[in-house]
Symmetry: C2
Subunit: 419 residues, 2 copies
């Protein structure tokens, strides 16, 4: 029986795409990762923002999956509540009480399909086409893409050592007729810079937002991964009950991205609207994933796992910093951040170096990173790169930085040699 | 240590909700299900559109989960490709070849987080505020809500025994200045009516859509669950390579809703846009779920499972039809559909009966259904109900219909007794 091939480039009536459909924006990171996936030689990836391949508590997961299959399989396989599995919701509220001394009302929490869906929901509920959204420069590319895909107008404001520059926000908007509607920030161990917003800056940001009658979207995937230094309360906790902040959390960095479970803390009416919207987005978050995470939290395994990750990731960060010091530290023009937690550091090459031109050279030399412009909507940061220290194995880290140095040498030699 | 309560009704600046955020629509079905969940006495549910609680191949699932945890746990727990897991994608393409003799190009398929996300993506890419979308009357309430949440204007056109009335569509739109942009149809074992669109009607619909330069969204969760009668090709297969149809599929009805895995078949450019959009919606579909389904397909278990479901669901449908004949068949004014597959049948009570008024009486009497108006955007179908025959256990079906009869009697007695 001969099969008929089915292959068509576009829809019959491409004029029927919506405005949003015409301009939908993907992620620069994913383009780099596709290129990475196509390499046939071994590449050490400092590109992906992933837990290390050896960082999953496999035995514990296998055990709770067995328990779920044995005791509540039919429930785990059927539809569940859109707001999230009951056990997981209870555990999340308890964990928030431990982390921030807050007894959050259960109606102020929804379980989402990863933090990404939380960001999507916030933009859906708040952003009309043309609304101004302030984000950090640089910032998480998928977070920026979400704003773009709801046709928000992004303004990126630089970070300094204490986080988003509120002074620069005031310069731009204090006298502007139209104020921002939303501040999108990653205050702890920021992606991609690794910078943490200071307590003072957090208060300044909340004051600024309130004076503009703007909302704050706190994207906080890394807050639980502090290796050293003093912990800073989340914007959600600092906001008290004032309703200025919507806080998006996820298990992607502290446990598993593949499981796609996150949550949002917000006033009740926001959560009710999110539940309604989610019903016609994906009905509910996958139940098996929710039950795995809920059980690991309830038995204390998740807490122990996070403590273990902090140790391992601190070691990896230290290895990367030491290697950078050794291989790039003696020359002027190179700088990098020294994050107190999280996944990433941000490295700046001498002016005139193009990280995007360096990328294929580095890839051929066996190391991958994400070039700076991926974290901007209007370009720039051309001589910077994001380096992830959690994903490479411990023994690969110095070798990765050595390859980066070699790639830089050969590419700058080539640049000088060019006519 | 005293916890501070955190509980706020709304955001500090509710004027900041977007237009879409202001009017976001949930599901009437979910409201009924919440009511159902609050009952303390045992209720037989004909309300939920779920596989039976005894319809999951638990041993097979536990076995493949064990295999995944043993052999590819770290991959299953990390991020995966936005377009879907490679094994699952291959299996879906092979299954489509078997089902429709089509060798679909791999770039014409994306894995989604359930069929619901497929519907969401199609609306995202096509619907501008105010665009006209034709849906069946009655139709799937979450499908209608998605259109509403993208600010599309819904027109529901009645079904007849052969499916969506194309004649009625022509009456409404042939002379209209603004044509529909999209036809949203569930052609096989329609939710909620159980009606299957005939082959002739499918061709008529495709011709009509093309003459309006409109797209067709084929929502096909039940197509693989035919118990009897001659199989009808999907709209996607009938469209050949003309790019009029986007087809949304899911494992929710043939395997498990809780696993949240579906897929979409469409021209390459649509899929590329969906991949880009999905990156900032939920990054990727949960990997463990994709790997479970992919492995069950690859080893042939999924095929055997679907064959088994067809037998079981046919028996359940027969039991419900026999019970309806016995308990409602002798009186005029009662009608119901006799679906050749799927999950639902649609029952109409005598004129003047309110299914919404009957609902609490039936619930108190131990049986639940979904009232007709849940499947409309502008109301109507007040004397109709959707009955799901797949979810109740075999021995519960006649008892459920007996309770429905009793509820009807007592509620009509009460109605007659009212002043």
């Amino acid at each position: 029986l001969a099969l008929k091939p089915w292959n068509r480039e576009d829809i019959a009536f491409p004029e029927q795409y919506s405005r949003r459909g015409r301009q939908v924006m993907g992620s620069f990171i994913d383009s780099s990762l596709s290129l990475l996936a196509r390499q046939t030689h071994p590449v050490i990836s400092l590109a992906m923002g992933c837990p290390g391949p050896d960082a999953f508590p496999l035995d514990d997961i296998a055990r709770v999956v067995g328990e779920i299959m044995g005791r509540e399989a039919a429930v785990a396989l059927n539809y569940g509540p859109t707001e999230g599995d009951a056990l997981l919701r209870r555990q999340l509220l308890e964990a928030e009480a431990v982390a921030s001394d807050l007894e959050v009302n259960p109606d102020c929490l929804i379980v989402t399909s990863g933090g990404m869906q939380g960001l999507d929901l916030v933009n859906k509920l708040l952003i009309n086409p043309g609304d101004i959204v302030v984000a950090e420069l640089p910032s998480y590319s998928n977070g920026l893409a979400t704003v773009h895909n709801y046709e928000g107008r992004l303004t990126q404001i630089p970070l300094d050592a204490e986080g988003l520059s509120v002074a620069e926000c005031r310069n731009r908007f204090d006298k502007a007729a139209v104020k921002p509607k939303l501040f999108y920030v990653i205050p702890s161990f920021q992606n991609p810079s690794g910078i943490t917003m200071s307590l003072g800056r957090r208060h300044e940001l909340l004051d600024l937002a309130r004076s503009y009658r703007a909302m704050v979207l706190e994207d906080d995937p890394y807050g639980d991964l502090r290796f050293e230094g003093e912990s800073v309360p989340s914007l959600f906790a600092l906001d008290k009950e004032r309703g200025t902040v919507i806080s998006v959390r996820t298990f992607s960095k502290i446990f598993s991205p593949g499981i796609r479970v996150g949550w949002v803390l917000a006033p009740r009416n926001v959560i009710a609207k999110m539940v309604a919207a989610k019903q016609s987005m994906d009905t509910c978050t996958n139940i098996l994933g929710q039950k795995i995470v809920g059980r690991l939290m309830a038995e204390g395994t998740m807490r122990r796992h996070i403590l273990r990750l902090r140790q391992e990731y601190r070691l990896k960060r230290d290895l990367m910093l030491a290697s950078l010091d050794r291989r790039f530290g003696r020359e002027p023009g190179f700088t990098w951040t020294r994050p107190e937690g999280g996944f990433f550091l941000w490295m700046t090459f001498p002016e005139g170096v193009s990280a995007e031109a360096l990328f294929p050279v580095a890839l051929a030399g066996g190391v991958a990173f994400i070039p700076g412009p991926a974290f901007t909507v209007h370009g720039g940061l051309t001589n910077a790169v994001r380096l992830c220290f959690t994903y490479p194995l411990t023994h690969e880290i110095d070798e990765a930085i050595r390859r980066l140095r070699t790639a830089y040498q050969s590419s700058s030699a080539r640049r000088i040699g060019q006519p």
